[in-house]
């Protein structure tokens, strides 16, 4: 009796996504058998059927959301869009063809753009503070170059004074940004490595 019930439950398990079933199917059937051993079968079945009805769609939705959308649908809609544009161009002299093809072309193009936008890989956010050394090296390098140049050339010519001062200001700003980012980077690293 229990064996038949477990076999029936196993049949229901086939409705779960394959990945989930492969991972937990055996455990779920075992757990169901344990429940049948300890509780009245009617109660176990009632609870299990409600559970199946609730969790099968949920697991499918989760499995669907885990996988990135493939290019199948965007390709199909793009093909429809190209076809509709071609039909609109070729049959443009016929008002009837134009009235149908033009809206289809516009709508399918918009839909295709939206679908391709959705299928693009999600960019992994960069840790801005990890770039501290670029600012520090750039700022410090520029500062050293300016000091060496102005020391070697002596007094600055009239026309070069303003650009040189702007370059000094830029070098100082870059260096300060580099130092601030470096401190933030170290603080963030400590926070990540903190226990608990």
């Amino acid at each position: 009796m229990t064996g038949t019930a477990v076999a029936a439950y196993r049949a229901f398990l086939r409705l779960y996504p394959r990945e989930f079933r492969d991972e937990y199917g055996v455990d779920m059937a075992l757990l169901f058998a344990h429940q049948l051993r300890d509780e009245p079968p009617g109660r176990v079945w009632a609870r299990s059927l409600v559970d199946l009805a609730r969790t099968i769609p949920t697991r499918h939705l989760e499995a669907h959301m885990k996988h990135a959308p493939g290019p199948g649908l965007p390709l199909t809609v793009t093909a429809l869009s190209v076809t509709a544009v071609a039909v609109a161009i070729i049959g443009g002299t016929d008002r009837g063809v134009l009235v149908v093809a033009l809206p289809v072309a516009v709508l399918s193009t918009l839909f295709a753009v939206s679908l391709w936008h959705d299928t693009r890989p999600v960019a992994v956010p960069h840790d801005t503070t990890a770039r501290w050394w670029k600012y520090l090296a750039g700022g410090a390098g520029l500062l050293i170059a300016l000091i060496v140049t102005t020391t070697a050339t002596g007094e600055l010519p009239e026309g070069l004074w303003l650009p040189t001062m702007a370059a000094f200001l830029l070098a100082i700003v870059l260096t300060v940004i580099g130092v601030v980012l470096a401190l933030a980077h170290v603080a963030a690293g400590r926070q990540r490595n903190a226990p608990g």
Binding site: M28, L30, L31, R47, S48, D51
Partner: protein, 98 residues
Amino acid sequence: MLALLDGELHGYALMGRVAELSDGVVRMGPGTLYGTLNRLVDDGLIEETTDLVARDDNERRRYYRLTPGGRAVALSELARLQAMVHRVARHLPGPATT
């Protein structure tokens, strides 16, 4: 997660522990239980410990326990719930005194 605070449990024991902690109000089905375990494993809050310990278990049941991070989350959630109940209880009218 609160049901795992005492240590590792296998699926059926975990189901029983949840029922016990909720005074029988929450009775999870296998789909709910393993769906939840799957998500918690993915989030790094619990881990499977089946192969970490030698067991005398013919049925090859799978055991789970809280990770250090999961334990911290469970304790923090417990503290949050306790604080909330405490706050609400303070504002409720007390028993009538004669």
